[in-house]
C-alpha cells in the first residue's frame, strides 16, 4: 500500500527539516551576523551611557515645537508603538484620512503648502524618516522655539540626511530622531 510506505519518509523528513531550518539555519545566521554586524543585528540601538534611548531605524513620536516632527503614525493605542506596527489602512476616499491630514496641517500652521509626507501616515507606523522638504519647512518653528539661529537647525538636518542609495535607489531622507538628538546635544 503506497500510503503506508510514505509514512516513514514523511516523519523523518519533517524531523530533519525542522532541526535544520528551525534550529541550525537560524542559529548559524545568528552566529554569522552577530559576529559580522553586531550593532545592526541587535537593532541599531542608540544608547546614552547604559540607557537605550531608541533605535536609528525606528521613529519616535514628536509633538513638541522644539523638535522635528515625523510622519503620522497609525499604531495603537499610541503613535509609534514599536511593539505593534500598523498602517492606517485608510482608503483614498475615507473621511478619516482627510481629517487626520487636516489636523496635522493645522498643527503645523505653515503659510505655504505642506509636504505630503507630513500629512500622511507611514506603512509601518514607525517610519524613522521624512523628506528633506518636510524637514526644511519646520526649521523656522524649531529655531524660534529654541532661540537658536536657523542655520544650526539646518546643520543638524544636513548631518542626518541621506541621499538615495548609490544615487538611484529609494528616496532622499532625513532621520528625524537623529536630528532631534543633535539639537539636544546628545549626538555628536
Amino acid at each position: 500500500m503506497s500510503l503506508i510506505k510514505h509514512i516513514q519518509p514523511t516523519v523523518v523528513s519533517l524531523a530533519v527539516f525542522t532541526v535544520l531550518f528551525g534550529g541550525l539555519y537560524p542559529l548559524a545566521t545568528t552566529a554569522i551576523v552577530q559576529t559580522a554586524f553586531p550593532d545592526k543585528a541587535q537593532g541599531s540601538l542608540i544608547r546614552d551611557g547604559q540607557t537605550v534611548i531608541g533605535s536609528r531605524l525606528i521613529g519616535q513620536n514628536f509633538t513638541q515645537p522644539q523638535y522635528l516632527w515625523g510622519r503620522l503614525s497609525a499604531t495603537g493605542p499610541a503613535p509609534y508603538n514599536a511593539a505593534a506596527s500598523s498602517g492606517s489602512n485608510y482608503g483614498v476616499n475615507n473621511p478619516a484620512l482627510i481629517e487626520a491630514a487636516k489636523a496635522r496641517r493645522d498643527a503645523l500652521n505653515l503659510t505655504g503648502p505642506v509636504p505630503v509626507d507630513l500629512l500622511t501616515a507611514s506603512g509601518s507606523g514607525l517610519d524613522p524618516h521624512i523628506s528633506p522638504a518636510a524637514a526644511a519647512v519646520q526649521v523656522p518653528r524649531i529655531a524660534a522655539t529654541r532661540h537658536i539661529p536657523q542655520q544650526r537647525v539646518r546643520d543638524a538636518i544636513a548631518a542626518a540626511t541621506q541621499t538615495p542609495d548609490f544615487g538611484v535607489l529609494g528616496e532622499a531622507r532625513v532621520n528625524v530622531l537623529e536630528v532631534n538628538l543633535r539639537l539636544d546635544g546628545r549626538l555628536k
Binding site: P9, T18, A83, Y90
Partner: protein
C-alpha cells in the same frame, strides 16, 4: 517625466528588471542540474548529508514514482507539516523561546495560520510581534517557509518529467526532489540573503523586547527577534508572511532602499529562474525564454501603470493644502512611490504576498493592479514552482484553443493534448476563480463577513474581494483594513487556501502522469510552434481574457466605483 513617472522611477524599474534577468539565467541553469541529479558545485559537501537523510527515511533514491504515488507523498508530507505547525501554535505558551509570554493561539487562528504556511500562502491573520513567540516564528513558520516552497518546485519537476518522459508512468522520486531542492537551492540562497539583509540592519537576536527611554513622552517598547533568517526565506520561497505585523514596511524587516532591492529581487528570483530551468530540462531553451517573455510582457506594463497611478495620487490631499497629491499614505519615506509600486506588483505577480506599503491605502486603480495580477491565477512568474506549473496549464489551454481555431490536434512539446489534459487544466484554472467569487458573495451577504469591513463604500467591498482573491490564489497579501482574525474569516479563508493549493496541484500532477505515458511525436509542418512571438501574444491573450472575463463585474463594483468617487471629488 514620462507617463507621469519620474525618471528616477523609470531608472529603478529598468535596473530591477535587468538585475532580475541577469541573476535568473545562471540560477535557472544551476537548478536544472540539481533537479536532474547532476553533479554540481555543492555536491562534495552536500552529497553525504543527502545520503544520510535517505538512509534514515528508508528512501530508495533510484525508485521513481507514478503520478498517484507522487501525489500521495505530497499530500501526506503537507498534512504532516500542517499537524506539526497547528500543534505548535496551539501550545506555544508552554514552549521555550517565548520571552514576551505570548499565549496559545485560538484554534481558528492556529488553523488559518497553519494552512496559510503549509499552502505557501502566508496570509496574515496573526500580528507577528503581538501574537507569535520566537519559537513559533523559527521552528514553526521558518520551517514551513522552506518546505512549502520546495513542494512547489518538486511538483514542477514532476510536470517537466511528464512532458519529457517517453511512454513511462514514472515522474521521479518526491523525497529525492524535496531533499535536493532544500539542500542545494533554498538553504544556500537563504543564508546568502539573510547575511546580506543583516548588513543593512535587519535584526537577528533572541533577547526579549527592549524598552527605549524616548526623547519625548512615554517609553517605547522595541519588538525584536530572529528576523533576518526568516526574512530571507520568506522572500525567496514566495511565502511573504511577515515577522512583524506590517511585514516589509517595518524598518527591522526592510531598513534601507538596498535591502528593499535585495528583497524585491528575492521575490521573483526563483520563479523567473525556473523558466530557464524548464527550457534547459526539456532541451529547448527557447521554450523557456518564450514563457519568461510572456510573464515579463504582462509584468512591466502593469508595474509602470501602478507607479504612474500612485504618483498621480489622491487629489483630496491637494485640496486641503498639500504640496502634491502623491499617494504617500501607507508608504515609507525611504522607499517612496516607485519602490512601493514595484514591490506591490512583484509581490502579487509572484504569489509572495509580502508588502512594503499598505495596499488598502493605494489609489483605487493602483490597488486594482495587484488584485488583477493575483486574479490571473498567480502565473506571472507566480509562486516558486506553482507559478510555472500554473503557467504551463495556461500554455496547454492556449495550444488547445489555437488547435480548435485551425482545426488540428493540439500538441505541446510533441505531446498530444487530449480531453483528459484539458479537463484537468480547466479545473486548475476555474476552481480558484469560483472560490473567489462565491466566497466574496457569501462574505458580503452575511453579518459575519460584513463585520470585518473597515473602509466605507466600495473600498469595503474591495477589501473582501481582495482577501478571497489572495487566499484562493495562495498569495497572502491583504487590503489589511479588513479584520480577518474572526472565526468566520479564519475558517473560510483557510478553506480557500487549501482548495486553491491542492486542487491546482493535483490536476497538474494528473496531467504530468497522463503526458508521461504518451509518445513524443516529431514536429511537422502542421505543428503550432510554441516559442514564437505570435504564440507569446496568444498566451498572454488567453491569460488576460480568462482573468478579465471572470472578474470584470466584481472589479467594477469595487475599485472602479471607488475610482469614480475619487475623481468626482
Amino acid at each position: 517625466m514620462f507617463l507621469g513617472i519620474t525618471s528616477a522611477g523609470w531608472l529603478q524599474l529598468v535596473l530591477f528588471m535587468a538585475a532580475l534577468t541577469a541573476l535568473a539565467v545562471p540560477l535557472g541553469g544551476y537548478v536544472a542540474r540539481v533537479l536532474s541529479g547532476q553533479r554540481n558545485l555543492l555536491s562534495p559537501v552536500i552529497k553525504p548529508v543527502e545520503g544520510l537523510i535517505y538512509t534514515m527515511g528508508d528512501v530508495r533514491p533510484d525508485q521513481d514514482m507514478t503520478w498517484t504515488d507522487y501525489a500521495t507523498a505530497v499530500i501526506l508530507f503537507s498534512f504532516g507539516g500542517f499537524i506539526l505547525l497547528f500543534g505548535l501554535l496551539l501550545t506555544q505558551g508552554f514552549l521555550p523561546l517565548n520571552p514576551q509570554h505570548l499565549p496559545n493561539l485560538t484554534p481558528d487562528l492556529a488553523f488559518n495560520t497553519a494552512v496559510s504556511f503549509v499552502t505557501n500562502t502566508n496570509w496574515q491573520s496573526y500580528a507577528g510581534e503581538a501574537t507569535l513567540s520566537y519559537f513559533s516564528q523559527m521552528v514553526g513558520l521558518t520551517v514551513q517557509n522552506f518546505v512549502s516552497a520546495a513542494v512547489g518546485i518538486a511538483v514542477l519537476a514532476a510536470l517537466i518529467r511528464g512532458l519529457t518522459g517517453q511512454t513511462t508512468d514514472k515522474l521521479g522520486n518526491f523525497w529525492v526532489d524535496l531533499v535536493r531542492i532544500h539542500l542545494y537551492i533554498l538553504l544556500p540562497l537563504a543564508l546568502i540573503v539573510a547575511v546580506a539583509l543583516s548588513s543593512q540592519g535587519v535584526i537577528q537576536t533572541f533577547v526579549s523586547y527592549v524598552t527605549a527611554h524616548t526623547l519625548e513622552g512615554p517609553h517605547q517598547t522595541l519588538a525584536l527577534g530572529p528576523v533576518a533568517s526568516q526574512e530571507a526565506i520568506k522572500m525567496l520561497g514566495t511565502n511573504g508572511g511577515g515577522f512583524f505585523n506590517t511585514n516589509s514596511a517595518h524598518p527591522f524587516e526592510n531598513p534601507t532602499p538596498l535591502s528593499n532591492l535585495i528583497e524585491m529581487l528575492s521575490i521573483l528570483l526563483i520563479p523567473a529562474a525556473l523558466c530557464f530551468t524548464f527550457g534547459q530540462m526539456i532541451g529547448e531553451r527557447r521554450q523557456g525564454i518564450a514563457i519568461f517573455a510572456a510573464m515579463t510582457l504582462v509584468f512591466v506594463p502593469l508595474t509602470a501603470a501602478c507607479i504612474g497611478l500612485e504618483q498621480a495620487g489622491n487629489p483630496h490631499l491637494t485640496t486641503i493644502g498639500s504640496d502634491s497629491a502623491t499617494n504617500m499614505e501607507g508608504k515609507e519615506t525611504r522607499f517612496g512611490i516607485a519602490n512601493s509600486a514595484i514591490w506591490a506588483t512583484a509581490t502579487t505577480a509572484a504569489s509572495n504576498g509580502s508588502v512594503n506599503a499598505m495596499h488598502d491605502s493605494f489609489t483605487p486603480l493602483g490597488g486594482l493592479i495587484p488584485m488583477i495580477l493575483m486574479q490571473f491565477g498567480e502565473v506571472i512568474y507566480g509562486g516558486v514552482g506553482s507559478g510555472l506549473y500554473g503557467m504551463l496549464v495556461f500554455v496547454i489551454l492556449t495550444v488547445f484553443i489555437a488547435g480548435l481555431m485551425v482545426g488540428r490536434t493540439p500538441e505541446y512539446l510533441g505531446k498530444k493534448i487530449g480531453a483528459f489534459e484539458i479537463k484537468m487544466a480547466s479545473m486548475a484554472v476555474l476552481l480558484p476563480c469560483a472560490l473567489v467569487l462565491i466566497c466574496t458573495a457569501v462574505a458580503v451577504l452575511t453579518p459575519w463577513g460584513q463585520a470585518g469591513i473597515y473602509n466605507p463604500g466600495a473600498q469595503g467591498f474591495s477589501e473582501v474581494l481582495y482577501a478571497f482573491t489572495s487566499a484562493a490564489n495562495n498569495n497572502g497579501s491583504a487590503f489589511a483594513g479588513l479584520s480577518a482574525n474572526t472565526p468566520f474569516y479564519n475558517s473560510l479563508l483557510g478553506l480557500c487556501m487549501l482548495f486553491g493549493r491542492f486542487f491546482v496541484l493535483l490536476p497538474v500532477l494528473a496531467i504530468a502522469g497522463s503526458l508521461a505515458a504518451k509518445r513524443t511525436v516529431p514536429a511537422s509542418s502542421g505543428t503550432l510552434p510554441t516559442h514564437t512571438p505570435l504564440f507569446v501574444v496568444f498566451l498572454i491573450g488567453v491569460i488576460v481574457l480568462v482573468g478579465v472575463l471572470t472578474y470584470a463585474p466584481a472589479l467594477a463594483l469595487g475599485p472602479v466605483i471607488e475610482h469614480l468617487n475619487l475623481i468626482k471629488g
